[in-house]
């Protein structure tokens, strides 16, 4: 039975999640050097195209077909039997459910790109997006959202701590290891070229996250309102916690740090949004900032060029959120289960199971996909192309043009003298 109130909210929530992908592109684009800004942004934009197709062709079916515990089936391939009739247990047209879930897949694969920016070739990247959006995201979404083995076990994941956050974070680590570090990594300071983009991107992501978490109840009711509220509270606390950590470490509160903190807070609350009380959500914000902060400080001293710290911001914060549910989930708020603190230790075991299997699968699957792809075609741009910058070498465009010295070679036909145009072309 379709509920028009639920449907109205889910239409809006879906649009909010869709805007997160270009917002992520902006966030990432600000963090790279100016010669790579378009390429970095385009890696998110590409996900909007490629991952959407993968999702429609087979991804949705792998995630939400009635398969076994591990993966769905081919029942909904090419949108077969996805129409106005709601899925069991939902009150919105299945078409809308399909788009809402698809918007998660798009965003998640775009998240992984942060590990390999400034060096991966654009063509192989798009193939990777298609494969990842077919073999990694849908499988892990099936585990928790599609009736897979984690859902059966009783693992709670409100909006994607498993398939979005841990999947992207640990895939990012695998991708960074396979692709290797940028040629100047560890030799030169590779700094964000526009911190305003970073802040604006983070702000837009937070905005979209209200649809991401608030929509994950799949209805406009109490659960959605709780998730919506927590999506404000946790990032706010993570932000202030980050300020404090910044003050302790360097004596100054940093802007790029603030943007990172917003993401970490949003990620932390993602799995827990509709399961914990607002008070515990605030505690989660302060708590989730700490491990992610420590890893972000430590990681650049290693040889692992996981460039934009997807592991710390998403993988680790998502893991923290998933475990937090095991302790502080509260039946009085979620109507589903209590956590350890409220007398149900079994939930913590279910959450711990997710923390073991999700990183392992994401890492292994991404590692194998990229190794396989790398055996067929070079994944990295040449050193020369990397030095020139990925904008010019991959796309033949520059982000910050003055137009000086640019000579037209495709002259409009009406103005062109005969012969001259063909010579110029």
């Amino acid at each position: 039975m379709i509920d028009s109130g639920d449907t109205a909210w889910m239409l809006v929530a879906t649009a909010l999640v869709i805007v997160m992908t270009p917002a992520l592109g902006l966030f990432y684009a600000g963090l790279v050097r100016s010669k790579n800004v378009l390429n970095t942004f385009m890696m998110s934009i590409a996900a909007l195209g490629v991952a959407t197709i993968a999702w429609a062709v087979i991804g949705y079916s792998f995630a939400f077909g009635d398969g076994g515990g591990f993966i769905g089936n081919f029942d909904h391939a090419f949108l077969k039997d996805v129409g106005f009739e709601p899925r069991d247990g939902t009150t919105i047209p299945q078409l809308l459910f399909f788009v809402f879930q698809g918007s998660f897949c798009i965003l998640t694969v775009a998240l992984v790109s942060g590990a390999v920016v400034e060096r991966i070739r654009f063509g192989p990247y798009m193939i990777f997006v298609a494969l990842w959006a077919t073999l990694v995201y849908p499988v892990m979404a099936h585990w928790v959202f599609g009736g897979g083995f984690l859902a059966e076990a009783g693992t709670l994941d409100f909006a994607g701590g498993v398939p979005v956050e841990m999947a992207s974070g640990f895939s990012a680590l695998a991708a960074a290891l396979v692709i290797g570090a940028r040629k100047d990594y560890g030799r030169q300071a590779l700094l964000p070229h526009n911190s305003i983009f970073v802040l604006l991107g983070a702000g837009l992501l937070w905005f979209g996250w209200f649809g991401f978490n608030g929509g994950s109840a799949l209805s406009a009711g109490e659960s959605g309102a709780l998730a919506f509220t927590n999506t404000l509270l946790t990032p706010a606390c993570a932000l202030v916690a980050w300020f404090i950590l910044d003050l302790i470490r360097g004596g100054k509160v940093t802007a790029v740090g603030a943007a990172t903190a917003i993401i970490v807070g949003c990620v932390g609350i993602t799995p827990a949004a509709g399961f914990i009380s607002p008070a515990w959500a605030m505690v989660l914000g302060f708590l989730a900032a700490i491990p992610s902060y420590l890893i972000i400080v430590w990681r650049p001293r290693t040889r692992v060029d996981e460039t934009l710290d997807v592991l710390a911001a998403h993988g680790i914060a998502g893991l923290t959120g998933i475990l937090f549910i095991g302790f502080f989930a509260q039946f009085a708020w979620n109507g589903v289960a209590d956590g350890l603190v409220y007398g149900n230790a079994a939930l913590l075991a279910d959450q711990a199971l997710a923390v073991l299997v999700a990183p392992a699968y994401a890492f292994a699957a991404t590692f194998l996909i990229l190794r396989g792809l790398g055996a067929l075609t070079p994944l990295r741009a040449s050193e020369r192309d990397e030095a020139i910058g990925m904008d010019v070498s991959q796309h033949g465009e520059e982000a910050y043009l003055t137009g000086e010295g640019a000579l037209l070679i495709s002259i409009p036909e009406a103005d062109a003298q005969p012969g001259k145009a063909s010579e110029a072309a």
Partner: protein
């Protein structure tokens, strides 16, 4: 005294700086310039507009040095800036009439860097 001007690829600017530091050449100005030196133009497309970019981004180093540091500066620019492809840039060496350090009013050899033998503590001794 000479003014060494080196125009190099922007992506090699850091390598040049490193090479200059290694050669103990200090006192460098750097600016972004656009230029054309016979390299192949790159073609870019923006919607329906295809353009040949006649000017390439370059970085221009200006280094005022005493005579004995002219060759090290040139070597550093070559070593740091060379890729072997057309477009690596050029080096121009001017003679310099006068140099004045604003802070102290020192002139000429006392004002160009480096002014001290390598490892010396004082920054104000002459280097000749």
């Amino acid at each position: 005294m000479k003014l060494v001007i080196g125009i190099v690829r922007p992506e090699k600017a850091n390598d040049v700086l490193e090479a200059l530091y290694r050669a103990h050449v200090q006192g460098v100005s750097m600016s972004k310039v656009q230029g054309h030196g016979g390299e192949l133009d790159r073609v870019e497309t923006y919607r329906g507009t295809t353009v040949r970019m006649g000017l390439a981004e370059k970085v221009r180093f200006e280094i005022a040095v005493s005579e004995e540091y002219v060759q090290p500066a040139i070597d550093a620019l070559c070593e740091g800036g060379r890729t072997g492809d057309v477009g690596d840039g050029k080096i121009f060496v001017h003679s310099l009439d006068q140099v004045i350090r604003i802070r102290t009013g020192e002139t000429d050899h006392a004002a160009v860097t480096p002014v001290t033998p390598i490892g010396a503590a004082s920054g104000d001794r002459r280097d000749d």
